[in-house]
Point group: C2
Chain length 137, copies 2
């Protein structure tokens, strides 16, 4: 395999791509913090709502872990903090006693709506830059 044909321009492109991703993450983090959420909490709420069409009753803790690419015990702690903050509710799954379905509260839904609108706008603004970077890959 030839890993030798990496030029300074390639390094610059990769660095620029990473910078764009970090800036988006930084925007998202600031937006979340502005409404009192940690980035992970925001992403968890989004994952739950993002799966609403296929899982209207909420997601299991393990499904949240898989959506966020974290270990299940990390998801447990994350859901603990979300529940303490009144942002989600745990409900036992009537069809499987092991699972507890995690659903967002009205309060969280309001926060998420505002955050999502801001993120859509930010992503639209970011789009030309990402397209330009993807173009030179």
């Amino acid at each position: 395999m030839q890993t030798e044909d990496i030029t300074d321009a390639d390094y610059a492109t990769l660095a620029a791509f990473r910078l764009a991703l970090r800036q988006f993450a930084a925007f998202s983090e600031a937006a979340a913090k502005a409404v009192g959420l940690t980035p992970r909490q925001h992403q968890a709420l989004l994952a739950i709502k993002g799966a609403a069409r296929t899982s209207p009753g909420g997601l299991g803790v393990g499904e949240i872990a898989r959506a966020l690419l974290i270990r299940h015990n990390s998801a447990v702690e994350l859901v603990d903090r979300l529940a303490d903050a009144g942002l989600v509710r745990r409900q036992p799954d009537p069809s499987d006693g092991r699972r507890s379905l995690v659903a967002v509260t009205d309060q969280a839904e309001r926060l998420l709506r505002g955050l999502s609108a801001a993120h859509m706008q930010e992503l639209r603004a970011l789009r030309p830059r990402l397209l330009a970077l993807l173009d030179v890959l």
Copy 2:
């Protein structure tokens, strides 16, 4: 401002976008770990090499902090760990006694070359998915 026109499909799109970013981050993290680097260390090396055309002598600690969007003291600690691992060298800036220029070692350059080739390939594979997501924004 109308933040009301967010649909379930929008949530799903945003969630899918975040998932794609997380999966790329997970790939990158695994690739870095496979050669003994933390994700941050990899990103720092890439930032230094990515700026090689404009700063051939290396980057200052503060410039690394700005490239990585972290505080300068976090960058100090990161460079400490990189130097301990023999991946970068600190050299005093001859034209400014306050600055210390951070340059990658040959060893780090070899690691970064392999990592960058793998990342270019991964990004090319990821491109159609990102383009599809950007298309529905």
